[in-house]
Amino acid sequence: LTARFTVILSLVLALLLALGGATLAVQYRQAVIAAKQDELRHLELGLLASLHTLMNTGKAGLIQDWLGEVRNHRGLERVTILGRDGEPAFRDLDTLRRVNDHLDQRSFQRAPRPQAAPPPLAQPRFRQALAGDRTTHVDWASDRMVRLLPLKQAPSCRGCHGYTDAETLGVLRLSSTLSEARERVHGAYLESAGFAAMVVLLTGLAAFLLVRREILHPLHRIMTTARRWRDGGLDARVPDRPADEIGTLGRILNDMAGRLERQLHETRNLIAQSRTGMVVIDAEGTILFANPAAARLMNRPRAQLTGSQLGVPLVDGHKTEIQIRRGNGESGVAELSVHATEWDGQPAHLVTFHDVTERQQAEADARHRALHDALTGLPNRVRFHDLLERAIVRAAAQGNRLAVLFIDLDRFKEVNDTLGHAAGDELLRAVARRLREAVRDTDVVARMSGDEFTVLLDGIGDRDKALDVAEKVRRRLAEPAELSSQTLNPVATIGVSLFPEDGEDADTLLMRADTAMYHAKEAGRNCAHAFAADQGEAASRRFRLEKALQRAQANDEFRLFYQPQVGLPGGEWKGMEALLRWEDPIDGLVSPADFIPLLEETGMIHEVGEWVFRRAAADLRRWREAGQAVGRVWVNVSARQLATDDLVARLDRLIREDGLAPEQVGIELTESGVAGDIAHSVAVLDRLRQRGFQIAMDDFGTGYSALTFLRQLPIDEVKIDRAFVHGITENREDHHLIRAIIAMAHGLGLPVLAEGVETADQAELLAAEGCDAAQGFYYARPGPADELTRLRPEAGPGLPGTQQEQ
């Protein structure tokens, strides 16, 4: 660029100089001509005037003086007088003198008449002079100047010669050299030309230096810096400059380079510090790049990786697992995936992989935990079931038998209750250990729950063999167990079932082993029994349920749900029915129909029933304190509870100790519940009413439904069973029945509540029939106490049940 700029600048300067020189040369010539003309002017005037004088007077003295002057004038070479025809009128000055001499001697003679049309003259300048103009002609080649001056006729001559006004007599021609005029002007012009040239050259030089310093040099520095950037030296910077265009350009480029450097640095850091291994592979499978994590995971120096073959199928999205050596020398697992990408402008594949050893270990642990019992480390119920199913498939294929032992520790609950859970856990661990020792390694020992264990005996010969093993296990378990606090003799009862004789699937085999165990218990514990075909399974199931209910009571698994009751037809809140629920930790909510009869049979209903009243009292107190009026809460009381004398005593104690408020509580009884001993029932109900409880007849229409009941019993409300309500809109009989019940109850002055209302149609029809209140899914499902308060946040005070109005 510098060279080009220099050439251009030089050319421009040369052009300027040439132009200047040319201009000067023109001016110089003009000056020379002007100087010469000035010099000749008075000579010309004098000559012309003396010529006129000569013509007018014929006296040649004056012109002689002037001719002498002319002769002495430097540079004036020739003076010629030309006639109209362009020919010299006088050949020379001598001729003129002769004319003069002649004129002195003779009188003036008229010249011949001029021709009418003078011949055309070749020289235009001469013609111009003849027309009256003074002309100057310079011939630089011979360095001469020729002046042509028109000779005008004097007015007096006209008369004599016959010339017209317009006609010129002739032309005075003065030819002179320019050399001396040139010499005069020359010095001054040379000086000014030299000065101008110097000015131009100096300006050019200054421009060159300025451009070099301000533009060329900074650009050069930017260029060298940019070249370093290109070659990877992103830390290079353009030197700082004032904030002109180039300085700003440099700063912008610096900023760009800085940002690029930072980004590159960050990206490099990310890749270098990433725990994810990254490898770039070209289309031939050769490694082009590997980050430190890749080297670490593959346990190779990075330099060794580059150029090697990794051997991963180059398919975008491909995933696989590889084994790696971890930092601690142990073997681990890495998950590897392939992504199509570009490298250096070429198609390539990025392979990323990361250590998933811990994650897989955690997953394996979680799987193990899900399938094993934490206390004993044995497989749990789920795992055992799975293993049993597989064993069955195998045994069926190979025609083998297998046996399931169901082992229950006798009186384990006592150990827990008297010695504490720590001792109980210790005992369970000891039992697990002994079971494991008592059977072959190929057999499966599992803990089902609590104090129940199972054993899968694979490939057992027959029933007797299985019983032998069971007996051996029982005896091994019965050996004294040294616990940290004391020594125990665990006693176990074992049931045995056999595949394929007792069942061909896991569930049946387990159930039958369980049944056999139950029968063994009945037969006197601490023994092993095989399943026999005549053994009923219902009893076994009941036995289990009973055990579970005991556990439920101990573990506080019972819940009290509430279902709202509303008035008809308005739908206003009246009260709630309290409903007992059992939330089994494994099976979830258990249907009341499944366990309430058993509670009654086992007598647990007294304890659980009291818990229901206590819970209801607590909830009522909470609602009262929260300012929520929930109306009357109705609690179900079973026949067993009513039949005993201590129901009233229990309730009295609750009123005293738990703040149970009878005026807020209603008691629901079933027809069958009071049917046994009417007199006793009436007496108990009377005592309850005296305390302020209200009584409702539940499930009306399903039991004896004797009219006498309604008349004899001291009750405050009748609840129509859901079975009638269900068909009321479709079934004419149900509709009539309900109408009759309502009429009958109203006849006795008792309000009626319909249970199990599920649709708007049912509610409407019941209201039309005069039913006083309703309850059912249409209004609200039963729910925990907390949910109910959400259901009815606007409940204000003074919402007593309809029953009080009787």
């Binding site: 051997g311 697992e321 590897l336």
Partner: protein
């Protein structure tokens, strides 16, 4: 009819190694029946061999014959990817016919 000569490099007798071996045998039995030779090399037992072959990760499967030499790393669970990686099949091609496969590589 040429045989397929394959070498599988694994690390130790782990369940993971066994899984890779099982996966590979499944593929080879299904695709090449008795027309293959498989050598299994434990890099813990023969580290020099692994070093010579520049085994970067295990499991690595190397197909020595027929050419071209090809290697596949990973658990060999994806049959198509394994065959593709060994250059024994192009994507989308069907199951190679026995005679065709043999003559093709002879």
């Amino acid at each position: 009819m040429g045989k397929y000569t394959l070498k599988l490099y694994v690390t130790g007798h782990t369940p993971r190694s066994q899984q890779a071996i099982d996966n590979l045998r499944g593929i080879l039995e299904a695709e090449f029946a008795d027309r293959y030779e498989l050598e299994i090399i434990d890099v813990l037992e023969k580290p020099q061999l692994a070093e010579d072959e520049k085994i970067l990760a295990t499991p690595t499967l190397i197909k020595e014959l027929p050419p071209p030499l090809r290697r596949v790393i990973g658990d060999l669970s994806d049959r198509d990817q394994v065959l593709l990686g060994l250059d024994l099949r192009t994507v989308g091609a069907g199951r190679p016919d026995t005679s065709d496969g043999g003559s093709h590589h002879d």
